[in-house]
């Protein structure tokens, strides 16, 4: 049975829905549930019966799709999370353009499924481009205010830049093995292996919002919040982490790959954490946290435990999606995403509780799925360098801090809260509820036999770690909570002004990008244009000027010569005068003046060539062609 069904169902259905245009919320919600539920069902069927598919395009190019345990897990996670998110979107987003939004979100899920099931780089590339395009369309969904399309473009260009890496990898793989199959990657060696590994790493990092591509996540926040939820939890960003986890066995053969992955991940985790803590914009805080969490996954992959990374990916999806949804609700209720303006706990208690469940996961507290997977990552880190686990723990501290801050400030209680905010209806809450339930379900991972079983099912092993480290990291987390509480209580407005605000925008990374990349390219373009303009008809002009100059020069010279001659001849010139006075003069005048006139004329004529009449021009061209042919004929 063919596996193409899995991605194709949502893709086609999404196009249809998008084409149908706006319908009633109930209708769209039903469609979303039906399509994505169907996708989930197919995924379940496909996983249990281990479908595969291949499409022979030409004998050289063949697309293939298959499951590994990892991809099977993700393939199940994606529609499940997407179902809840899209359902929420249909109930909550603006009614105008809702049909398009829903359709594209479903399509987006389909593209992600294609990425997940892909078994060769070409298929991956197709899915990759699909989700890239969809992300652009979704971020600039509310295209009527000019900023959103810009942001969409920014995100798109950023990720595109990363995609270059994937393209390079595809071409390198094809040149090396003559096929796009994943299996070929392991067989590579030498520079091509390097190109493939780092190309994929580059594109993965760009999609996953790692440093230095992280800023696009902030711009992406201009999209609707449910879009952000889908983007960050299940699809686009997750794809980055997923793909390197999927390919880790082959990629890690490349020298330096693991180190690079660890470094990228760690730097992103720390900078993202700091940014998140300093950030006062609810959704941006979450965006930064996404970068940080994916950084953890990169670290896990780098340390050689892709299974852990994927588990964290799944868990992260379950708790990040509800956070974004609730952030969206809170933002609408508080008319703006400023954390210090929210404090909505009293107004929407249910949402607050559900968010708390998710936030606990983000904070990585014990008995939360997020906590478990983070601990696993720390354990994994223990097997590499001695200082790495501590760095990750510090990252954990930061995540605990911003999670706490987000929760307390967004849904904290405030005594003097007499705002009349209408709590969202059940239709908007239900998606949130589903996701929170999923989050709770992930807590079971703390039960060792279960987690072992799952790891075994993903035929990977879980890292062994020392209890000492566990306690240490828990203390780190506790510190993080304390910091978060402190910030929420004492400095609710942190990050709205001053250095904190400046630092909260990725520590100034976007500015760096603007200065270091955008400006130079722009300048280069301008320079090229300038050169183009000024060299067009330089030729005739230069010749003309030279002609005039030469003429003047020679004329002057001639005066001097003549005078000189006359002065010299004056001494013994009497008898010369009546022998031939006119004769000498004509000679001595004629030569220089004649040459001067000649040069001047030359200049003028050359200038006259440039008539601006096209037929003259192509007459010249014809002449040139004839001349060339003549020369060639003579040569032959």
């Amino acid at each position: 049975m063919t596996l193409w069904l899995l991605p194709l169902l949502p893709i086609v259905a999404g196009m249809v829905v998008a084409a149908m245009g706006d319908r009633s919320r109930g209708w769209l919600g039903f469609l979303a549930v039906a399509v994505l539920g169907g996708t989930f069902g197919i995924a379940l069927l496909a996983v249990t019966q281990d479908w595969t598919a291949s499409l022979i395009w030409t004998d050289a190019i063949r697309l293939s799709a298959a499951f590994t345990p990892i991809s099977a897990a993700v393939a199940l996670m994606v529609p499940a999370v997407a179902l809840a998110v899209v359902l929420h979107a249909t109930q909550h987003e603006k009614a105008h353009g809702l049909g398009r939004l829903t359709g594209i979100m479903i399509l987006f899920t389909g593209g992600m499924e294609l990425v997940v099931v892909a078994n060769d780089l070409l298929t991956l590339l197709i899915g990759w481009e699909l989700i890239g395009a969809c992300s652009w369309a979704l971020i600039s969904h509310k295209w009527r205010d000019i900023e959103n399309p810009r942001s969409g473009l920014y995100a798109f260009v950023m990720t595109r830049f990363g995609d270059l890496g994937l393209f390079a990898a595809v071409m390198a793989l094809f040149t090396a093995t003559g096929s796009f199959d994943y299996a070929g990657i392991a067989t590579l060696n030498g520079p091509l292996q390097w190109v493939v590994a780092f190309g994929i790493l580059l594109s993965a990092a760009s999609k996953a919002g790692q440093v230095p591509f992280a800023p696009w996540l902030f711009r992406a926040m201009d999209g609707p919040s449910s879009v952000s939820a889908l983007l960050h939890a299940a699809t686009l960003v997750a794809a980055g982490a997923y793909i390197i986890a999927r390919l880790e066995p082959s990629l890690s053969l490349a020298p330096g790959f693991s180190i690079a992955a660890i470094l990228i991940g760690l730097i992103t985790a720390l900078t993202g954490g700091i940014t998140g803590v300093l950030q006062n914009h609810a959704k941006r805080l979450l965006a930064a946290s996404t970068s940080a969490q994916l950084g953890f996954m990169f670290v896990a992959v780098g340390s050689g435990y892709p299974v852990v990374a994927v588990l964290h990916l799944i868990v992260h999806a379950t708790f990040k999606a509800p956070l974004f949804l609730s952030a969206g609700l809170a933002g609408e209720a508080a008319a703006g995403y400023r954390l210090d303006k929210m404090m909505l706990g009293r107004s929407m208690p249910i949402v607050g509780v559900l968010t708390a469940v998710a936030a606990v996961g983000l904070a990585g507290l014990p008995l939360a799925g997020g906590g478990w997977s983070k601990e696993e990552i720390i354990k994994a880190a223990e097997h590499t360098v001695y200082w790495l686990p501590f760095a990750v723990m510090f990252g954990g501290t930061l995540s605990a801090a911003y999670a706490t801050r987000f929760l307390l400030q967004a849904f904290g209680w405030r005594g003097d809260d007499e705002r009349s905010v209408d709590a969202p209806g059940w239709a908007e809450t239900i998606g949130l509820g589903i996701l929170a339930a999923l989050t709770l379900a992930t807590s079971l991972l703390w039960y060792p036999p279960l987690s072992e079983a799952i790891a075994a099912a993903l035929d990977g092993r879980l890292p062994k770690g020392s209890p000492l480290m566990l306690g240490l990291s828990l203390t780190f987390v506790a510190t993080g909570n304390v910091v978060g509480i402190y910030l929420a209580r004492r400095q609710p407005a942190l990050g709205t002004s001053g250095t904190a605000a400046a630092a909260s925008d990725w520590l100034g990374l976007p500015t760096l990008i603007t200065v270091a990349i955008v400006r130079p390219v722009d300048a280069l373009a301008r320079a090229a244009a300038w050169v183009d303009d000024n060299l067009i008809d330089a030729g005739p002009r230069v010749v003309a000027i030279l002609g005039r100059k030469g003429a003047a020069l020679i004329a002057e010279m001639d005066n001097r010569v003549v005078d000189q001659g006359i002065r010299n001849t004056a001494a013994f010139g009497d008898w010369l005068a009546y022998v031939s006075d006119r004769f000498g003069e004509t000679i001595s005048d004629g030569i220089p003046e004649g040459s001067a006139r000649l040069t001047g004329m030359l200049g003028r004529d050359l200038r006259r060539l440039q008539t601006g009449l096209s037929h003259h021009y192509y007459a010249y061209i014809i002449g040139g062609v004839i001349a060339i042919i003549a020369i060639l004929a003579a040569g032959a």
């Binding site: 440039q610 008539t611 601006g612 009449l613 096209s614 037929h615 021009y617 192509y618 007459a619 014809i622």
Partner: protein, 101 residues
């Protein structure tokens, strides 16, 4: 009917076309000159196809491409003529001196 004869005819058509393309003032007439040149090319292409390469299909393909080129040239040419006329009310080459600067 030898290849030489065909090529001579083709070159005659080409020469006339060149004359027209160079000498005509009106855009449209100018395009006719170009068309005539292409006509010669077409004839030469078919001639070569029929006489030198044992009727390898590629020759006919070339001829078809020449026709496509004619169509493209005609369409774009007329579109440009219309556009220029709108902008300048100019229908002769002389009226466009803007290439000077």
């Amino acid at each position: 009917m030898t290849l030489t004869a065909i090529l001579i005819v083709a070159s005659a058509l080409f020469g006339i076309g060149l004359f027209g393309a160079l000498s005509q003032k009106s855009f449209v007439m100018l395009m006719m000159g170009l068309e005539l040149m292409l006509n010669g090319t077409l004839l030469a292409a078919v001639g070569f196809w029929a006489f030198t390469l044992e009727g390898a299909p590629k020759g006919q393909l070339l001829a078809i491409l020449v026709m496509a080129v004619m169509a493209v040239e005609l369409a774009i040419g007329f579109a440009l003529v219309v556009a220029v006329y709108r902008k300048r009310q100019a229908d002769v080459v002389e009226a466009l001196g803007t290439l000077k600067e």
